[in-house]
């Protein structure tokens, strides 16, 4: 059995709780996601455990359903951007030469186009579905992941043990996945944690551009925005989803930290 430190345990429990809530949303949520059941911004009560939102929908139910979209979309986009970005970057470094040059500059190029223009152009030529949303988010983030992964891999690629593997005649996949990746893991895992947060926030940004999540469905960032006006008047409807995002972020990163401490240790973790 692996001993899990308390902090990682907390992280795991909270993350798991959010995941489960998302998974079983229809079973748990007391009301429907778009159902108007009360007054505007009702305070917390036994009927509405977290109160109601700006037009009288049950906040708890919206949070539970919203978690679904948020976690699913953010997770899918993060995984996409991560695997693609890392593999591309590591391969570029390992293959080197003009492949590396061309790919890296191409990524720089894509990165230099303002996201807003990018998103709007995509929006205008593609149907707006969750899949497109995930693709757009993931692909935009690939550039960021790529640059980081490349920077890390570049330093590792010149190590003697990588040279030894080349000398053995190993192909690119082996060098990428077995020689470099394990040694690049900890900055990558840290970045993964961050990227997940950015994705959670990014979903709501894109939703407001009209891409993706359609009402009455919601995502947590979106619920924050829907209720943002109340914040300075002490109405918690916006703070609750913000709190959920923060706790999810912290939990995911607590887990990432734990993975990190296992990957940084040259002794296989302790």
């Amino acid at each position: 059995m692996i001993r899990i430190p308390t902090s990682a345990l907390i992280g795991l429990v909270i993350t798991a709780a959010y995941f489960l809530a998302a998974l079983f949303a229809p079973l748990i949520a007391p009301f429907g996601v778009g159902e108007i059941v009360g007054d505007v911004w009702e305070p917390m009560s036994s009927k509405f455990l977290l109160g109601t939102d700006g037009i009288g929908r049950d906040l708890l139910s919206r949070m539970i359903y919203g978690g679904r979209t948020t976690i699913f979309v953010a997770l899918a986009a993060t995984i996409l951007s991560f695997t693609l970005g890392t593999i591309l970057a590591l391969t570029a470094v390992v293959v080197g030469g003009w492949v590396d040059m061309a790919l890296s500059r191409f990524i720089d190029l894509i990165m230099s186009i303002p996201t807003l223009i990018f998103a709007l152009v995509v929006l205008s030529v593609m149907p707006v579905t969750i899949l497109v949303l995930i693709l757009v988010m993931g692909l935009l983030d690939v550039t960021r992941v790529y640059r980081l992964a490349r920077a890390v891999a570049q330093d590792i690629n010149v190590m003697d043990y990588v040279e030894a593997a080349r000398l053995r005649g190993e192909g690119t996949p082996w060098i990428v996945f077995r020689e470099i990746l394990p040694n690049a893991l900890s900055p990558l895992v840290a970045e993964l944690g961050m990227r997940f947060i950015f994705m959670v926030l990014f979903v709501s940004t894109l939703s407001f551009l009209g891409l993706g999540i359609q009402p009455p469905d919601a995502d947590w960032g979106g619920i924050v925005k829907e209720n943002k006006e109340g914040i300075v008047y002490g109405i918690p409807a916006a703070l609750i989803p913000a709190f959920a995002i923060a706790t999810l972020a912290i939990s995911v990163n607590l887990v990432a930290d734990w993975v990190l401490s296992r990957t940084t240790s040259l002794k296989g973790g302790r």
Partner: protein, 319 residues
Amino acid sequence: MSFVVIKLVSQRIALGLLLLLAATVLIFIGTQILPGDVAQSILGQSATPEALANLRRDLGLNEPALNRYFSWLGNALQGDLGTALTNGKDIAESISGRLNNTLFLAACAAVVSIPLAIFLGLLAVRYRNRWPDKMISAITLATISVPEFILGYIVMYFVAVKLQWLPSVAIVRPDMSVFDRFEAVAMPVIVLTFVVLAHMMRMTRAAILNVMESAYIETAELKGLSAFRIIASHAMPNAISPIVNVVMLNLAYLVVGVVVVEVVFVYPGMGQYLVDHVSKRDVPVVQATGLIFAAVYILLNTTADIIAILANPRLRHPK
């Protein structure tokens, strides 16, 4: 050695310029693809079809795209960015004011946040898995995961409304003293710092931890160096390239991505400027702004690449 460096840097600069050229093409194409057009956007609901047609003709939207691209590029090379379709203002002039503001804000935020993030990162490594590390992580993660505008509202509410320490709107006037400018950007800087801190701090922490088990760290420890010196002077140089990349990413964000903070604090920067003109489909301005943003990205990315190579002697002097 310095020769190698000069060659590398000049190569990268040349490439950067080439990239910029490619970026202009993409931006131009992008602005052509964007649905909707300026005439409609300017006049909105109160316009008539004739008025629209008139405006369109006035704005030269009927010429072929290729001609427009080359004449635009030619003029841009001479520093002439043209005039805005929407309000007829000289773009170079109105951008320069906005750009100054943006760079000023970005610089202030960078000066505060980058050293702070790296310092906190080092501190987190120093007290790894102990409470200072956990505190730093939890707080920065919490601030980064809260949408920017909420941070903005909270800071604004406490600092400006409750305590009345600072003005709630960061409006800058041309005749402002430097001190007043600092005062104006104080709150945006606080918020931006919160926003960018975590990413840089976490990467510093992770990248350094990744090299902390190397044998040379042991050597440093056996030299009796202080924990902090070991981290800062021995681990850091070997972890620099991911850190630099993340720092550059955040710098780029500070220059091109602070729309929300600009809006909340009413700061006249580039972000809002771009958004306004995109939504009005004011193509020349979008192109000019896109050009500047692309230049910023390319410059920062190139810098990151160069630093990464300079920081690693094995890349600089391959075997």
